[in-house]
C-alpha cells in the first residue's frame, strides 16, 4: 500500500493587504523628448495622453526599484520579511538572463524563507503574478506573497524611435497578498495569442545582435495599430469575462485599473465596456508613462489615493501586452 500524499489546509480567500510604489526622481517632459523625434508636446498628449514620465537614474536598477516598492508594501502591511513565503517579480527589463531579480530582492528584503522567481509576461506580468499569488495563498502553500511589477524600459527603448520614445518609462509597484476569511481576489482570467508575437517585440534577438550587430543593440519595437485593435476588441471581452467569473457586474465596481498602455486605449476600452459613470478609471499614464509590468500596481496605488477609494471596494484590474498575453481579475481594494 503506497503512502498517501498530504496537502496543507486551504483558505477561503486571499486579499491585497497593501500597496507600495517607487517612482524615479527624474521627471521627463514631452518638450524634452519631442525635438529628437520631430514631434511636439501637443502631439504626444493628443496621441497618448502622456504629459510627463519618470526615467530611472543610471545607477537605479530593476532590483533597486523593486526593493523600494516591496519594502514599503511590507511595512504598510505590517508583515515581517521572514514571514514572506514567495516573491514574484514581474519584469522584462532585468538585464540578466540569470539570476532572477526576485532572488536578489528577496535577499535584500530579508525574506529568508521565501521562494523567488521572475515572471516574464511584460504588461500582463503583474496581473498574472497576482493570480498566482492568490492561488498560492488559498491552497495553503504560503501565507504571504509579495508581488512586484517593475521595469527600467528606458534601457531598451530608442529615444529616436518616433513610435515609442515618448511612451515607455520606469518605475515599480508592489503588493502584499495574504489570507482572507472570504475571497478578496477574484478568479484570474488569463490567456495568450502567440500568433501576434511580432506586434510587440525587440528589433533583434541577442544572438542575432551577437552575430550581426546593427547600429543599436536590441530595443523594443511595436505595431501600435495592431495592438490598439487587439486591446480594444479582445481585451474588452476579457474584462467582461473577469467580471462574470467573479460573479459581479460593472455596476458593482468602484474602479477600473487597466494597464496604462495609452490613454486612447483606456478611453476606447471604457467605451467598449460601457462602464457606468460612477466607476473611477485609473489614468496614471498621464504622469507615469507606460511602465509595462509596473503599470497596474503604480496606477492602483495612485487611483486609490487620488480618488480616496474605500477599502474593500471592488476594482477590475487588467494587464495586456507583449506575447501577446493578458490577465485580469476583480479585487477588493486594500
Amino acid at each position: 500500500m503506497t503512502a498517501q500524499l498530504r496537502l496543507p489546509a486551504t483558505r477561503p480567500g486571499s486579499r491585497i493587504m497593501s500597496t507600495g510604489t517607487f517612482r524615479p526622481a527624474r521627471v521627463v517632459t514631452n518638450d524634452e523628448l519631442a525635438p529628437r523625434i520631430d514631434s511636439s508636446d501637443a502631439w504626444i498628449r493628443e496621441r497618448t495622453g502622456i504629459v510627463e514620465r519618470r526615467f530611472a537614474a543610471p545607477d537605479e536598477s530593476v532590483a533597486d526599484m523593486a526593493l523600494a516598492a516591496a519594502g514599503k508594501a511590507l511595512a504598510t502591511a505590517g508583515v515581517a520579511p521572514d514571514a514572506v513565503g514567495m516573491v514574484l517579480l514581474a519584469s522584462v527589463t532585468h538585464p540578466y538572463q540569470t539570476p532572477s531579480a526576485a532572488a536578489e530582492v528577496a535577499d535584500r528584503l530579508g525574506a529568508t524563507n521565501a521562494g523567488a522567481l521572475d515572471i516574464g509576461a511584460a504588461c500582463a506580468g503583474f496581473c498574472y503574478g497576482l493570480g498566482l499569488a492568490d492561488t498560492i495563498v488559498r491552497t495553503g502553500t504560503s501565507e504571504y506573497v509579495v508581488v512586484i511589477g517593475v521595469e527600467k524600459l528606458t534601457d531598451f527603448v530608442s529615444l529616436d524611435d518616433r513610435g515609442a520614445s515618448f511612451i515607455f518609462a520606469d518605475g515599480a509597484g508592489a503588493v502584499v497578498v495574504g489570507p482572507s476569511d472570504h475571497p478578496g481576489i477574484g478568479p484570474v482570467v488569463w490567456g495568450a495569442d502567440g500568433s501576434q508575437k511580432d506586434a510587440i517585440t525587440m528589433t533583434q534577438s541577442w544572438v542575432e545582435y551577437r552575430d550581426e550587430p546593427g547600429e543599436h543593440y536590441p530595443v523594443l519595437t511595436m505595431q501600435g495599430q495592431a495592438v490598439f485593435r487587439w486591446a480594444v476588441g479582445e481585451i474588452s471581452k476579457v474584462c467582461t469575462e473577469a467580471l462574470e467569473a467573479a460573479g459581479i457586474t460593472s455596476d458593482d465596481l468602484v474602479a477600473f485599473v487597466p494597464h496604462q498602455a495609452n490613454m486612447r486605449i483606456t478611453d476606447a476600452m471604457v467605451r467598449a465596456l460601457k462602464l457606468p459613470e460612477h466607476v473611477v478609471v485609473a489614468r496614471d499614464i498621464a504622469t507615469t508613462g507606460n511602465t509595462s509590468a509596473a503599470s497596474v500596481p503604480l496606477a492602483l496605488e495612485a487611483v486609490i489615493e487620488s480618488a480616496d477609494l474605500p477599502s474593500g471596494g471592488l476594482a477590475l484590474l487588467v494587464g495586456f501586452g507583449a506575447g501577446l498575453a493578458y490577465a485580469a481579475q476583480v479585487v477588493e481594494l486594500p
Binding site: E46, R47, G224, Q225, A226, F228, R229, V232, R264, A268
Partner: protein, 80 residues
Amino acid sequence: MSNTEILDGLAAIVNEVAGTPIADITPDKAFIDDLDVDSLSMVEVVMACEDKFGVSIPDGEVKNLKTVGDAVAYIEKAQA
C-alpha cells in the same frame, strides 16, 4: 442598406469616436486630413463599422479608405 443609411451610420460612429460634428462628415471629406481622425481613431471607427454593418475590414484595406465616401463604398460592396 442604402448609401444614405451607411453614411448616417458611419457619421454617428465617427462622431462618437472622434467627436467630429455630424454635419461635417460628408463623402468628400478625408478622415485624417479633413476630419482630424488619426490612425488610432481609425482603428476604432473600423471596428465599430464591422460591428454595425456586419462586414469585415482587414487592416490592409484600412489605408485605402481615405475619405468618408471610400468607406461608404467599401461597406456597401462588402454587404452585397
